[in-house]
């Protein structure tokens, strides 16, 4: 399945659909008069750009932040925040339907109010966007410009007809959705994360193309909100980078929710008849057709490297991988840095946050902090959640590191049993023969919270033996981490040590 770039948002027509909200009109904002020179000019007002601007401004730097569309970027407007908001509502409905398992009565009638769920999401988004508003950023001393910024010379950026001189610059222009070149798809119309949160009605039947984090999260959310969902993934499992057991558990969870799971499957053509979309699917030699009302595409994202005039300032890039950076997040022009979805393999908000701080130190204060020194976890917020930090087992083996995994199934954790949330596990990988933690995967309802213990341990170079000494309140689900650490300690009680202890205690 080939993929293609969507044009940048400002050039894209909003699909003509009565179930989608029109884009909100941008607020009236007058760009400031440029300062004589800026310590840092930032192209892109997403999380990375805003964090860098704040960090630099707090330290007294003169900062300009340029945004061509909406401040807050993908995460706030069309990514993390809206998806988590509707995931929460969808999880509530799922718990209501499963109430019997918790010793409660299932309500006789469960009516999903999709409009209310979306309204709540928009309210949360609006509330959080106040932190990232142009006015708020201005009060911090940041000059905010709206418009299409691009490099105009070796130390200038042009935006809205004005030239901004910089000592250092940061490219944080983010990425946009890829969509597959399936015959008929563009004509039939489809959703991406950029417009799915504008829906006002829950599609009765939804096809999700792409079994990555976005596809799995939204497939589950929409299923729980009332859609009949089919999810199509061309690989043999979801989240192809994750541990097999994690992907297997997720696959089972999605199927249990009622999602029609189609792994090893490609969508090969789409045709529209009336308001229905017919999608042909192929899995090896098995062919089928699904009929849906909406198609949601989530097969990846492509860095926004166009129209920046990067060539003029010697910044190397490719359309697939984005801006080329070194371990200090410098581009091939040493005065220009890059971060976020435009250049990083891992497109996570918290990664951008950490890297933005790193860049401010490296760009403005001769810092030599390396990106590779950061310990970055990530999480897919399905139910159960899947979180990971550090190395996977296959990565460790490729690096010729002998690895052993300490596994605790959640059905061995008292609080997980009490909560009725036993699905999943904690797996902590150590270098065999030591307690050095190489990485970990957690699959649990609250995996995103639980992974923090292990991230802290890796980042602070604490071993599993030390984690075993960390007292966790009882009962908590995070105690699974201590249980894994305790398993490690028990393996240290070799037969020789046991014999010696027995001799000692024989007095």
């Amino acid at each position: 399945m080939q993929s293609q770039l969507l044009p940048p948002p400002s050039l894209r027509k909003i699909p003509d659909s009565p179930t989608l909200l029109a884009e909100p009109t941008s607020m009236a904002w007058r760009n400031p008069h440029p300062a004589h020179q800026y310590n840092l000019v930032i192209l892109g007002g997403g999380p990375a750009g805003i964090m860098a601007a704040r960090s630099a401004a707090v330290l007294g730097a003169k900062v300009a932040l340029i945004e061509r569309d909406q401040l807050g970027g993908t995460c706030l407007n069309t990514g993390c925040i809206p998806s988590k908001a509707i995931l929460k509502t969808s999880r509530l409905y799922a718990d209501m339907r499963n109430a019997e398992q918790f010793g409660a009565q299932v309500p006789q009638v469960i009516t999903v109010d999709f409009a209310a769920a979306m309204a709540r999401m928009r309210h949360i988004r609006a509330r959080l966007s106040r932190r990232a508003s142009a006015e708020r950023l201005s009060t911090l001393g940041i000059d905010v410009y709206f418009g299409m910024g691009h490099f105009a010379g070796r130390n200038t950026v042009e935006v809205d007809g004005q030239l901004l001189r910089f000592k250092k610059a940061l490219i944080a222009t983010g990425a946009r959705p890829l969509y597959p070149t399936i015959p008929g798809l563009a004509e039939a119309g489809f959703l991406t994360h950029e417009n799915v949160f504008d829906l006002t009605e829950c599609p009765p039947r939804l096809l999700v193309i792409g079994g990555g984090p976005l596809g799995c999260e939204l497939a589950q959310a929409f299923c729980r909100l009332g859609s009949k969902v089919t999810i199509v993934e061309k690989e043999p499992m979801f989240l192809s980078q994750e541990e097999r057991d994690a992907a297997q558990i997720l696959s089972g969870a999605l199927a249990r929710d009622g999602i029609d799971v189609r792994l090893n499957t490609d969508a090969v053509s789409v045709r529209e008849q009336g308001s229905e979309k017919f999608v042909d699917l192929v899995s090896d030699d098995y062919r089928s057709t699904v009929v849906v009302d909406q198609i949601l595409v989530g097969i990846g994202r492509s860095p926004n490297v166009e129209n920046l005039n990067l060539e003029a300032v010697g910044v190397r890039y490719t359309r697939d991988t984005g801006v080329q950076v070194n371990d200090f997040l410098q581009t091939t022009n040493s005065r220009i840095f890059a971060t976020g979805d435009v250049c990083l393999e891992h497109k996570f908000m918290h990664f951008e946050d950490a890297s933005a701080r790193l860049i401010v130190r490296n760009a403005l204060f001769w810092g030599r902090e390396r990106l590779s020194a950061l310990t970055i976890p990530w999480c897919t917020y399905t139910d159960p959640e899947i979180a990971h930090v550090g190395l996977y087992v296959t990565e460790a083996i490729r690096k010729r590191i002998p690895v052993k995994t300490f596994t605790v199934p959640m059905h061995d954790v008292d609080r997980a049993i009490a909560d009725g949330e036993e699905e999943g596990f904690v797996k902590i990988h150590v270098k065999e023969g030591t307690d050095k933690i190489l990485g970990a995967t957690v699959v649990a309802r609250h995996a995103g919270e639980m992974i923090n213990d292990i991230t802290l341990a890796i980042g602070s170079r604490l071993g599993l033996d030390t984690l075993a000494r960390v007292i966790h309140p009882y009962p908590t689900q995070a105690a699974a981490i201590k249980m894994a650490a305790d398993s490690y300690r028990r393996t240290r009680l070799t037969s020789t040590r046991k014999w010696l202890l027995k001799r000692w205690l024989a007095w």
């Binding site: 019997e100 199927a255 030699d285 296959t394 995994t405 059905h411």
Partner: protein, 425 residues
């Protein structure tokens, strides 16, 4: 009450008789199950061929009769159509997973299966080692066995990758998925590495073992795989005691010990019984590939249970729908006889209706309402289950199959090329 020896003898013989009753005498093909309309399974043929030496030694069949049956089977496979056409019997020396029991042609649009071909060849080679006599039939068996093995183009199945594909279909080419993680493919790799004509490169084996997961689970260090049959199938033919590949040398274990621990994991999971299914306990377990009650959701005691049909159930992550495969415990007899026998006796005592014609079913499920007082019981019998019962009970009693295959030069060569050292090698 029967003694252990008598109990095992009865179960083993009854399992063997599946192959006497369910084989087409014209071509030697064996039914996948004894349900009406079942196709032949080449893997079941492999098990069948392996049971004949056992049956001869036990006096259940004469040597001549066994040799005649085997010769018919090998002649069929040698002469059957090989090609890219969709209704051939095989291609590139491999065979389709399921064949029409009468015509021997591909059926159920099944895949050209590498693993099932390996199981077939394991049986072929077992027969060729045992039938070492000077009669015309036994000479023919050895010649055909060698020819069938040499014909297999393992390199083609690698499809330019470092590891082999699971299968191929004329309609769509190689299947998407390969062999990730520990599974029953050791036998496949051993046979493929030892081929005198189209051997896989030695690097293909570590390419597979690099996907292994070595875990401490329920307090046991184990090379992890969920379904129990993974820890049993290759072991039906290969004696892994004391021989170690590079992975096991690093972990200071071996695949026999690993299977013993995997058996304990099954019991530990059943003790925990996280889904609160009926019947589970210290002496009632067996989560593996087998038949199941349905492929939908059933409501039992106010709870919704997702059920599965024939699927590979595993521990500790499932899928688990309350179905227990009672034969799985017997197949672990060589690794941990005490708990395996205890489990077998428990099932037969508490669920006596599961035994039909003296044989165990593919699965039973005490949680779901079914066709008898104790819940659902799989109808009929599955050839794979009966085959592994015969081989593993016999390996426990006399190590016959292990001894035969230790003398098979291809098995030795394949193990050595895979990096196994020590023990009887």
């Amino acid at each position: 009450m029967l003694s252990d020896e008598d109990l095992l003898d009865r179960l083993e013989r009854a399992a063997f008789e599946y192959f006497l009753h369910e084989t087409n005498p014209e071509n030697g093909l064996v039914a996948d199950t004894n349900r009406t309309g079942a196709p032949a399974s080449i893997a079941v043929v492999g098990f069948a061929l392996s049971t004949y030496p056992i049956a001869v030694e036990r006096g259940w069949i004469t040597r001549d009769e066994a040799a005649a049956r085997i010769a018919v089977t090998l002649r069929f496979f040698w002469n059957s159509p090989q090609g890219e056409q969709a209704d051939a019997t095989g291609y590139k020396g491999f065979y389709y997973h399921f064949l029409d029991l009468q015509t021997g042609k591909r059926t159920w649009t099944s895949e050209l299966s590498l693993m099932d071909t390996a199981l077939l060849l394991a049986g072929v080679l077992t027969a060729s080692v045992y039938f070492n006599g000077a009669t015309q039939t036994e000479i023919e068996i050895r010649e055909l066995a060698d020819a069938l093995y040499r014909r297999i183009d393992w390199l083609w199945a690698q499809d330019d990758k470092s590891s082999v594909s699971q299968g191929w279909k004329p309609e769509s080419g190689f299947l998407h998925y390969g062999w990730e993680g520990y599974n029953e493919a050791i036998l496949l790799y051993v046979l493929a590495l030892a081929s005198p004509t189209h051997p896989l490169p030695a690097t293909s084996y570590p390419a597979w073992t690099s996907t292994y997961q070595w875990e401490n689970l329920y307090g046991l260090d184990v090379l992890y795989a969920g379904p129990l049959f993974v820890h049993q199938f290759s072991h039906a033919w290969i004696d892994f005691r004391g021989i170690r590949d590079r992975f096991m040398r690093e972990k200071r274990s071996d695949y026999f010990e690993n299977s013993r621990r995997a058996t304990y994991l099954q019991r530990e999971y059943a003790r925990r019984n996280p889904h609160d299914f009926k019947g589970y306990g210290e002496n009632c377990w067996g989560f593996t590939a087998g038949d199941g009650p349905c492929a939908s959701t059933a409501r039992v005691d106010g709870k919704y249970h997702q059920c599965f049909g024939y699927t590979a159930r595993g521990v500790p992550y499932g899928p688990d729908d309350g179905t227990i495969a009672p034969w799985a415990a017997l197949a672990s007899l060589p690794f941990e006889p005490e708990i395996a026998l205890a489990a077998a006796r428990h099932c037969l005592t508490h669920y006596p209706e599961i035994l039909k014609e003296g044989r165990l079913p593919s699965g039973f499920n005490p949680t779901l309402p079914g066709n008898n007082s104790h819940g659902w019981i799989s109808e009929g019998h599955f050839g794979l289950d009966q085959g592994i019962i015969v081989l593993m009970i016999e390996n426990y009693r006399s190590q016959l199959v292990w001894k035969l295959m230790r003398d098979c030069p291809y098995i030795k060569r394949g193990l050595k090329r895979a990096g196994f050292r020590g023990g009887w090698l």
